[in-house]
């Protein structure tokens, strides 16, 4: 396999990383909202949150992606396939992250919240300065794990026509008749990216260790 092909793969990997990073970030925001809904005392709200999580964790991502990719135009929303892919991945990862964050928020020690109330923090401040940082720190390992899962799962968006790493390897394999080398190279690139994320995550965890309750 020539360098030129390998460089094309690395370029396409940029899209894989971009799509995954954007989806993880959007998923974190939606996931926070959903976990708040699940933990809320409002019955309908918490039920809606749980149903969201159950559905997006229960149906295969591939089916979700195919559904969303075809549903958006039916609803009159015409977006590039890249956007549809990000929407699908974000919703899926939001469900997993909501479940993780729920655990994180539930494990914030009560005493800390009482103390926050005592010193006169508003509910808004309590959330941003006490709850959210602690929950995030608690769920950081799970978040990094989820990032790696999404990096791998993003290979499925090749099916809806996004030319990321997997799709590029597929196209090149079809035109050069070298599937063995191209898919092996693509796998290797995924492996390296995942190892880097795992390394970075471990370093991040270490730097977050201060003041652990």
């Amino acid at each position: 396999m020539s360098w030129k092909l390998f460089l094309l793969l690395v370029q396409a990997c940029g899209y894989t990383v971009l799509i995954s990073a954007v989806s993880i970030s959007i998923g974190l925001v939606i996931g926070t909202g959903v976990s708040a809904a699940m933990l809320s005392s409002h019955k309908a709200l918490s039920r809606a949150g749980r149903t969201f999580v159950s559905f997006f964790r229960g149906a295969p991502l591939l089916v979700q992606l195919l559904l969303i990719y075809n549903l958006l135009p039916t609803l009159g929303i015409n977006v590039p396939s890249m956007v549809a892919a990000v929407v699908g991945l974000s919703l899926c990862t939001a469900a997993y992250q909501a479940e993780n964050l729920r655990g994180g928020f539930a494990s914030v020690p009560r005493g800390l919240l009482e103390a926050a109330e005592m010193v006169g923090l508003s509910p808004f401040q309590q959330f941003w300065r006490i709850r959210a940082p602690i929950a995030l720190r608690m769920t950081l390992p799970a978040l990094i794990n989820e990032a790696i899962m999404i990096l791998k799962a993003s290979s499925l968006v090749s099916v809806v026509g996004v030319v990321e790493l997997t799709r590029m390897a597929q196209d090149l394999a079809a035109s050069t008749f070298k599937p063995l080398q191209l898919f092996a190279a693509a796998g290797l690139i995924y492996l390296v990216v995942n190892l880097l994320v795992a390394r970075g995550g471990a370093a991040l965890e270490k730097s977050f260790r201060w003041g652990k309750p």
Binding site: F55, T74, A184, L191
Partner: protein, 222 residues
């Protein structure tokens, strides 16, 4: 939304057949993955060092790359090294090799979680190594690994949908074909998602029921 009950009914045999393929591939894929995963765990635990390193490399490779890439490598790359498989066997093999890596890690953790005191007690009672493994380690480990193993089996059920990409005629493949032929792709996909959702929820419930039934065999943690 054009939902035609008579049409769905007329397509029922086809749908049921593909559902059978999904369930069959899943069942045999999980069985293969559990068996292979167990062998890998035993190989890493009791095998020679070189084998342990090779198996470790296998685990890292499988767990660090997407399932889809592994499938493509097997299905499209296989013929170049003399491994020409039809879609269904390729899908089964792919699922088993992929799942085995995760099951192996689950089993490893299970072995490690068995209290060393139990193994020492078995030794004190004069059990040999094989007896310790088959009578103490494996039964206790089975209880410990049940929840994560059920979880992994459910993940593999969802992964069977990916097999549609290498043209295994399972449910996702068939339903998307029907959906696009009949211009009802969105409806078909929605029903499909709900079907998997129901199946996955049911399996989760069954797993929890199994856990609580087997709970009496659990040793006390101390």
């Amino acid at each position: 939304m054009n939902f035609d009950a008579a049409l769905v009914w007329s397509l029922m045999p086809e749908i049921l057949r593909s559902a059978g393929v999904t369930l069959g591939v899943w069942l045999f894929g999980v069985l293969g993955a559990v068996a292979l995963g167990f062998v890998v765990t035993i190989g890493r635990r009791y095998g020679p060092r070189a084998l342990g390193i090779a198996l470790q490399a296998y685990l890292e490779l499988i767990r660090g790359t997407p399932f889809l890439i592994q499938l493509f490598l097997l299905y499209y790359g296989g013929p170049f090294i003399g491994l020409s498989l039809d879609p269904v066997p390729a899908g089964l093999l792919g699922l088993a090799v992929y799942g085995a890596a995760y099951f192996s890690e689950i089993f490893r953790a299970g072995f490690e979680a068995v209290p060393p005191g139990h193994v020492e007690a078995a030794e004190c009672l004069g059990m040999n190594r094989a007896q310790t493994v088959t009578r103490i380690l494996i039964p206790e480990m089975t209880m410990l690994v049940l929840p994560p193993a059920v979880n992994m089996a459910i993940i593999l059920l969802k992964e069977t949908a990916v097999l549609s990409i290498i043209t295994v005629p399972e449910l996702t493949f068939q339903i998307s074909a029907i959906g696009s032929q009949r211009y009802a792709f969105v409806e078909a996909m929605f029903l499909l998602a709900c079907f998997y959702w129901g199946l996955v929820s049911m399996c989760g419930r069954l797993g929890m029921a199994a856990e609580s039934r087997l709970a009496k065999f659990r040793f006390a943690h101390s």
